[in-house]
Assembly symmetry: C2
């Protein structure tokens, strides 16, 4: 458990001596931290990165590596996909939830091509290959994939579908050792080192230091149990990740994730959020969560997903993260995948059916009636769902949920069902409210002087919905902005 | 629009002269404020209430007047209902959402009988009559009603059903002039006046005043455009209501309510929350909302409610507020009520079919097939739902959703449907995090000295779900606690 009892700011006047000093102090050496560090250094600042663990990387280095980019990136163009910033923004505004920060989305979409080029200029490799099969991630080292349901209902009628999940070329997909996230982080860390950026490890920030005007002028941190003070002449950038592993904050702000943290690292304790709150920082969308769904997308697209009442509720060929959110938030975390034998076999024959999810069906039956009874559903609950689905599937249509014709065909027998109840986990998307310069906003609406933040300790693009790549995307994008803005101060 | 740019605390050293002074200063003269004022005065404090409008009452005086009480109140007992604090807590923990403050629920349930007696001792009248029909409120002056779905699925299997919606006896239900909320507030205001409590109207609090140790020692307020300073020798109690009418906060914290504020008054601008946040106060459950559903409960119970895909999703005989939440949060705000002619006529014959909701069906048809087509639903979407419902209804059962047998019968023809898409509105339930003494908690977990809060500017009993009476309930209960705790200081 993290000790959260000392989050109140320290008066600079009470600091007897500074142990370390820099123009810009960055807390956390994940994607947001390294991006901030690079731009701050390029902006002429002396930069010091404080990392709690013994190495760089954060959650980013362990991630699949999607960066959500579009608006016509060179990779999109090379692979034949048309996109514009406006089209990208139209999709995001529809997909990431009511209340999303429209100015931030527009800003991000407008800057997306430049951001792609910046990543490439730092050495991040993208292979010119598109992967178009249902799945969470490309199976090999393909560089582009749909990662947010852009080509599925209802979004394929709202904006022109374009894949925007950009994945750095992996060296070893199988072991995950040099997966997409690692191949994003490594070149950026190399870039930072070339710029002479100092990094100190095993240092955990404990409190912010403020001057008499309550501007942030440093941090108090702990190294091997000893408290040290670090002076920040131009600014402090908070980039220490989400609050997915802070049990108290999860209960208070995002209780649907109680007991199901996922896809984040245990260092994500929300402390940066607490430190800024203690200075009057505003928050946004603290209930928003990414939700992973533990089902094989190749099976999902070929079957039907039903809730605890035997009803369909989501187009099965959409981004699996949307399936996760719909299941957890709208269906009481209850889901069953129903699929006939022929489609099951077809899915298993695909190269990309994810072995991780290759579980055996819980129920197998010769008829729908029998399956329904075995699953414990009331009589006719599943039979009527399948009858209605099949009525339309015979015409290749899914007027109920808009699954694409390529995945629609009548469900036959023998038939099986997978029990996906409780098969979700997620990380938090809410956090500090920041402006387009990644300045942390006070509840007054004004920036807190000297304090910047980026990555999952902030509320970024997503207010409720999610797309894979949004976290590495807004983390790197607004990490850069934080570095630029901090370097300009003082 | 509220100006939120001056929410930062003022240093007491900068106050040249205090215009007013009291031991305990209460901001807001609604249910939480009056309860705090009474107990503070009884605790020996000189109390001053500041009210923004020109009269007492707040949202409470305009409300239906439900106070959620139980655990065996004299009214419950007189009307033959068994209840215990444990049973009440079991229900609430199941009904008001994951992440609810369990300590607060236990505390509230344990103190509920005493709180009932306190209200009665202050002159709040409850008539010994139970109203058991579906509805939002009793039609006359009955004192007790189910107000949270206690007797509906799934809660009727989780805890022993007991009605807990206690309504002060109304004098004029028809005009609403002396409705339940008024009849709650009036005796409490009279009690406060008898205690010599001073109230100043047309004063709106603008900022908190803090001493060198950041303890709250007063407020700066505005009266007729002029700024005044008010000294609080023992403490300030914030009781100014929700943030339902703060557009920026709604977008940032509870975006599902964008464009649909309801059942609160426009003074509910969230300012108290902002003022405390500026001092580092923690928040809780900012996304939680009460959601009213504009449908006639007498029709709902006799029909079936389907979503945009023609599927049932909620037991139609439950608390209408649960129907509202399920519709807005889980069904994309899309609902249709389908009912046959016979049941429609039966509902209209009841005395309590709410005239306000007596809208004409949008579609009427001779067959389900025809109705389905007129509603624009895909073929078989509604037909299969009704066939499954009728299959079980013929046995008087609803195994899909657990509607009680008394409301279950096969749906015949002619048949009609009401369009309830978008028919929701609500108010916010999230706010400042407080302890059992109504002290506002800093993000460090410690109380902010001198600052108390109660009512809808705090996160009370409800973390997500809602029961009618929870707001007047926790507002009065923790309002009292705030008054007691504040009076004890200094």
């Amino acid at each position: 458990m993290t000790d959260t009892s000392n989050v109140t700011p320290v008066d600079a006047a009470d600091i007897a001596a500074w142990d370390l000093e820099a123009d810009v102090v960055v807390a956390g050496y994940g994607i947001a931290g390294v991006s901030a560090a690079i731009e701050a250094a390029r902006g002429g600042a002396d930069v010091l990165v404080l990392e709690r663990t013994s190495g760089w990387g954060g959650a980013a280095a362990l991630a699949g590596g999607f960066i959500y980019l579009g608006g016509g990136t060179p990779l999109q163009k090379a692979l034949g996909f048309e996109d514009t910033p406006e089209n990208m923004a139209r999709f995001l505004k529809a997909a990431v939830g009511p209340g999303a920060d429209a100015a931030k989305i527009d800003d991000y979409c407008n800057g997306s091509v430049e951001h792609y080029e910046w990543l490439v200029s730092c050495g991040v490799p993208f292979r010119e290959a598109f992967w178009g099969e249902p799945g969470w991630e490309p199976p090999h080292d393909e560089g582009l994939m749909y990662s947010g349901g852009e080509n599925a209902a209802p979004f394929n009628k709202i904006a022109t579908p374009a894949p925007r999940g950009h994945v750095p070329q992996m060296e070893n997909k199988r072991t995950g050792e040099k997966g997409g996230g690692f191949m994003l982080m490594k070149p950026l860390i190399d870039t930072a080192e070339e710029l002479g950026i100092r990094a100190e490890y095993d240092i955990r920030i404990e409190r912010l230091v403020v001057d008499a005007r309550r501007q942030v002028v440093g941090v108090v941190a702990k190294r091997y149990g000893k408290e040290i003070a670090i002076k920040a002449n131009r600014g402090v950038v908070l980039a220490t990740g989400s609050f997915a592993y802070n049990v108290d904050m999860i209960e208070t702000y995002a209780p649907r994730l109680i007991g199901r943290p996922g896809a984040a690292i245990e260092e994500h304790d929300g402390r940066a959020i607490r430190l800024a709150q203690a200075l009057g920082a505003d928050l946004a969308h603290m209930d928003a969560t990414e939700v992973a769904f533990f089902g094989d997308p190749q099976l999902l697209a070929r079957g039907i997903l039903v809730n605890g009442r035997g009803q369909r509720y989501v187009p099965e060929d959409t981004y699996p993260g949307r399936i996760g959110q719909a299941t957890l938030i709208q269906q009481d975390n209850k889901a069953f995948l129903v699929i006939d034998e022929e489609s099951y076999e077809a899915a298993l024959e695909t190269e990309t059916s994810t072995p991780f999810f290759r579980v055996t069906p819980k129920w197998v039956a010769e008829t729908v009636e029998e399956l329904e009874a075995e699953m414990g559903l009331p009589e006719s609950a599943l039979q009527s769902t399948i009858a209605t689905y099949n009525l339309h599937a015979a015409q290749g249509a899914d007027p109920i949920l808009g699954k694409k014709p390529e995945w629609v065909k009548p469900i036959g027998t023998p038939i099986a069902a997978f029990d996906h109840r409780g098969h979700t986990a997620g990380f938090t998307l809410g956090g500090l409210r920041t402006d387009l310069d990644a300045r942390v906003l006070h509840v007054s609406g004004q920036p807190i002087e000297g304090l910047f933040a980026a990555g999952r300790c902030t509320s970024g693009l997503c207010a409720g919905g999610y797309v894979s790549g949004a976290s590495l995307g807004d983390g790197s994008f607004y990490g850069r902005r934080a570095g630029i803005a901090a370097a300009k101060r003082g």
